[in-house]
Assembly symmetry: C2
Homo-oligomer: 309 residues x 2
């Protein structure tokens, strides 16, 4: 059994590749919920949705969020009514948020709701929130303390970041299914997807106990979300710079030092391999850009081959 840690578009893409390479019983995808927030009275779980929609084959490939073939009549009416429109919610997507919120209010756990939604969308591999407890990523910026979605969507990642916090993480527990997967004797390895380390992976590792268990696992591999000094998507490179680091796969290696055994880097970063290996991390050079389904599967299979080596 392989455990994948994911969040965001890159994470969802590799999770989809792993789902093509592994049977449902062989893969569990654990997803960041630090981005979750309450909007218009609805519980929105952006990373869970991106992973779920991507695995279900209904994600919008252009946007990197939301559903394909989406319509925007709700949003247009909200604009007419003068309601908040900074966070776009498609008509189809809205059903996910409303149904999730309904089930959570009736006492279901986020894990249970996610399983039900995934089942309805035809996702056969396990997708788990990292926790059923609330963890909220907060970004300290020159414009003050911002909730993650306010920073990410409303402010379009523009304010300069000085610090990132994972509110309530210290009080959160891994979801029972995540804890069980971490303790499962059948666990063969952990793949940390090419997600933003600060925003998608750090919240998962911030849950008490998780970092230690992951670090003790002999086979942990991460895929660098930075290729040739640039983030494939999202603010990872900008954040690195603002947090005082040189954007690049080498910085990713430094960040994952003590946690991962192997870091997959793109061919264009092959020259960094000696410096990464000097940190005690195996640098695995692969074609790390996932252009299509075949590219996702190819990278997934390469990760699996590197893991069991």
């Amino acid at each position: 059994m392989i455990l994948a840690l994911a969040g965001g578009v890159g994470g969802a893409k590799l999770a989809a590749g792993l789902a093509r390479a592994l049977s449902p019983g062989e893969l569990t995808v654990v997803v960041n919920t630090g981005d979750d927030f309450d909007h218009l009275g609805l519980h929105v779980s952006p990373d869970l949705d991106t992973v779920m929609y991507t695995l279900a084959g209904v994600a919008n490939p252009q946007a990197g969020w939301g559903r394909e073939g989406e319509t925007w009549n709700f949003m247009q009416s909200m604009a007419t009514l003068g309601g908040p429109t900074w966070f776009q919610l498609g008509d189809k997507d809205l059903a996910t948020h409303i149904e999730r919120t309904r089930c959570l209010r009736s006492g279901e756990s986020l894990t249970s709701v996610t399983r039900a939604l995934c089942g309805r969308l035809g996702v056969r591999h396990a997708v788990l929130p990292m926790s059923d407890d609330p963890v909220r990523t907060v970004v300290h910026t020159e414009k003050g303390e911002l909730d993650f979605q306010h920073y990410f969507v409303r402010e379009r990642c523009k304010p300069r970041v000085s610090r990132i916090e994972y509110h309530k993480a210290s009080a959160a527990r891994p979801s029972p299914q995540f804890a069980a997967a971490l303790a499962d004797p059948a666990l063969e390895g952990i793949v940390i997807c090419p997600s933003n380390p600060y925003l998608s992976i750090a919240p998962i590792l911030a849950i008490p106990g998780v970092r230690d268990v992951v670090a003790r696992c002999p086979r942990v591999l991460a895929v660098s979300p930075i290729i040739a000094g640039k983030a494939v998507k999202g603010p990872a490179a900008k954040l690195m710079q603002e947090l005082g680091a040189q954007p690049g796969a080498l910085e990713i290696a430094r960040w994952y030092r003590g946690i991962v055994r192997t870091l997959v880097i793109d061919r264009s970063d092959a020259a960094l391999a000696p410096q990464i290996e000097a940190l005690g991390i195996v640098a695995a050079v692969e074609d790390a850009l996932m252009r299509d389904d075949a590219g996702r599967e190819r990278l997934a299979r390469a990760c699996l081959a590197r893991l069991v080596r």
Copy 2:
């Protein structure tokens, strides 16, 4: 100033006719909120919406609820996700419920939210909920006690009704604006629209003090929602029968006895006029079926002419 009491499709149609005949300062429409309910975590106000959409010219004329040119992508996704689908919510309509709920949760009154929504939709005449307090119409049936929308929409009015209750009505107060309109020296008359008396008008009259003030008003006119023994729309005739009365304009007159001075009945019911007049009510024979905008305005003007006579 004319006060109209309304609820449902017939009520909305006459309210729209009155809005064509009167300037914004001359008309206040007070709407039943006994049908309001919480669905999927949203505060849904069916009668307010029907009146608001009708006055805004964006109502679906076929359905009698919801918006014209509506799309159903949210609803289709809800069905895919296994959520409740018995209450249809169009993509555009959903914005009304979400925005209303958001504003109510932030502490606004239903009156204030309704004014804002109406303003955004271009409704210039005052539309008021009967109360900012919750009143819930409950229908006692052979299938047990049903919340109104469960009876009306989910069960399609099929269960036989033995009794109707207006929960919490005795603790509700008329909205301050409704109370002010009732006490306004400029009030020239009250038009009770052709709405279901048991389901749309009774909840308004059940609010402490309202029935007495309406009954004391010298110029109160009602329009019969029953034409030739049949309800133009909805379960009024079926309900009358189940509650032990003969469906017809005469029964409407009996029900409004002591409250209205004048009852407008359709030409097809002209033969009932002597029996209605015997109850001490002026029977005003008009073409009471509103087929189009012109029909609404014509009936509205006829009502106004009868009121001031």
